[in-house]
């Protein structure tokens, strides 16, 4: 195979070559034209290189059966195709120019009263004696006033052991989805996109979505809600607070789900090949060293961990 150098070809030479190609596409060259074309092509190695590129172009065009090409490329009227593309482009561009507004959330997280970095877990005792724990990558504002104790979950996950307040001010966790009022309890809230997952271990809670009727949760129950609706009430997931002790517990958990969980505690990307995402995994894993967890995975499952860069890890079948 001939190797064509990657260096660009001068544009005037490309123009000459294009002219020859245009003539060839128009029909057979006559004897005189053929002679002149051969002359041109051998006059300079650059001419030949330009021509090779145009031959590659011709190969590309003939790489598709013509009836297929016509069926596909003519499938939409051209004008419509281009217009839709432009519209889509404009939509996305509009987003690009207004990103200052979008960055509001990260800014709020950055200025939060309390925040935890990736892989970090924090515990604080609040003024009323409540014990607050933040999981990896979480942020809260703590807004205690004379009339209420409000904790705003800006991102991530918290576990709250509510203390007894002599002034009996209500204790409220505020999320994008709504309010959760504690009635003497220990519970966990995980905010993900517009959804709050709540698991209750002691006491009772009232969940108040922003745009739906409130509901109550009893000890041992869990459910998610958004601003407008609730998921089904299910048994509280005890594993969900294992992070509090720095552990990740898996009980026949599909590998894909496990990897998604583990990814919360690592910087960078952690991906799992879909073909092995269903492998069941059981074990208790320490969160302090996720690299060790990955090594352990290789020992217990038929998988291979690839560390492409410090920020890029994928897991594939062994």
């Amino acid at each position: 195979m001939k190797t064509t150098s990657e260096a660009p070809v001068a544009s005037d030479i490309i123009e000459q070559a294009s002219h020859w190609l245009m003539l060839q596409w128009g029909g057979e060259l006559d004897k005189e034209q053929q002679r002149r074309f051969a002359e041109w092509r051998t006059a300079d190695p650059e001419h030949d290189r330009a021509w090779q590129r145009l031959e590659h172009l011709q190969n590309t065009l003939s790489g598709v059966p013509t009836d297929t090409a016509l069926a596909v490329l003519r499938e939409l009227p051209d004008a419509r195709r281009r217009q839709t593309l432009k519209l889509l482009g404009a939509l996305l561009l509009a987003g690009g120019s207004s990103y200052l507004a979008q960055s509001q959330l990260p800014w709020r997280e950055a200025t939060a009263d309390l925040r935890s970095g990736t892989g970090e877990r924090l515990q604080r005792t609040l003024a009323d004696g409540s014990r607050l724990s933040l999981n990896s990558g979480s942020a809260v504002d703590i807004l205690f006033s004379a009339s209420e104790r409000r904790i705003r979950l800006l991102a991530g996950e918290l576990l709250l052991d509510s203390g007894h307040d002599p002034a009996q001010r209500p204790l409220i966790v505020d999320t994008a989805a709504g309010e959760i009022q504690a009635l003497g309890t220990r519970f966990c809230v995980y905010q993900r996109d517009d959804r709050s997952q709540v698991d209750l271990f002691e006491g009772a809670l009232e969940l108040r979505p922003r745009q739906a009727r409130a509901t109550r949760l009893q000890a041992g129950q869990g459910c998610w809600f958004t601003a407008t609706r609730f998921g089904d009430i299910a048994p509280a997931n005890l594993n969900a607070i294992a992070w509090h002790d720095g552990r990740l517990i898996a009980e026949r958990m599909p590998l894909g789900q496990f990897v998604a969980e583990l990814a919360r505690y690592r910087r960078g990307m952690l991906r799992c090949d879909p073909t092995i995402a269903g492998l069941p995994l059981t074990g208790v894993f320490p969160l302090v060293d996720t690299d060790r967890v990955l090594t352990a995975l290789e020992q217990s499952l038929p998988v291979k961990v690839h560390r492409l860069t410090s920020l890029w890890t994928t897991i594939s079948p062994a």
Binding site: E15, L57, T68, A79, Q102
Partner: protein, 168 residues
């Protein structure tokens, strides 16, 4: 690995903006998984091309790449769908292998990009010549222009194709 040093800016770019990019895409696509995939592909593209933005321009730069990826994906989806529909019309034994299909879809993407960069008349002349096998004088008749105009159109078409294949 010796490749670690030049990747340092990518690391900080990732730290500073990956979360933002994912949120930005999610807002626009309304699909968390797709947003995560495209955010990943955006950084993959940077990793492969080694092109990095100026310090102050990170988000705009990432958004531009992500936007191109979304449009590409959207085009690929349309082309794939149209292609599979055209295959459905074929009798069973003529159905091409999966590998052939992948190559054809890739090629169709390239040709589509070429067509997209041509003005309407140029595109029409190009399609008639290359895919319907018409001669320049037939095309001239069809488009009601002179043969020398058709030649000009074809030259422009070749230039447009060349740009798609070899543009820097």
């Amino acid at each position: 690995m010796p490749t670690d040093a030049p990747l340092q800016p990518l690391d900080s770019l990732y730290r500073d903006h990956h979360g933002w990019l994912q949120g930005w895409l999610r807002l626009r696509l309304g699909d968390r998984e797709r947003a995560a995939d495209i955010a990943q592909d955006t950084f993959l593209r940077l990793l492969v091309t080694r092109r990095l933005p100026a310090q102050s321009d990170g988000r705009r730069f990432l958004a531009q790449i992500a936007r191109n990826l979304v449009i590409d994906q959207w085009r690929r989806q349309r082309i794939k769908q149209a292609y599979l529909e055209s295959l459905a019309a074929l009798p069973e034994p003529e159905t091409p292998s999966l590998e052939t299909r992948a190559i054809v879809i890739e090629t169709l993407m390239q040709i589509d990009a070429m067509l997209d960069s041509m003005p309407a008349k140029v595109r029409e002349a190009f399609l008639l010549s290359q895919f319907e096998g018409l001669s320049y004088s037939q095309i001239a008749e069809r488009l009601e222009v002179s043969v020398s105009s058709v030649q000009k159109y074809m030259l422009r078409a070749i230039t447009a194709c060349y740009q798609v294949l070899y543009a820097e």
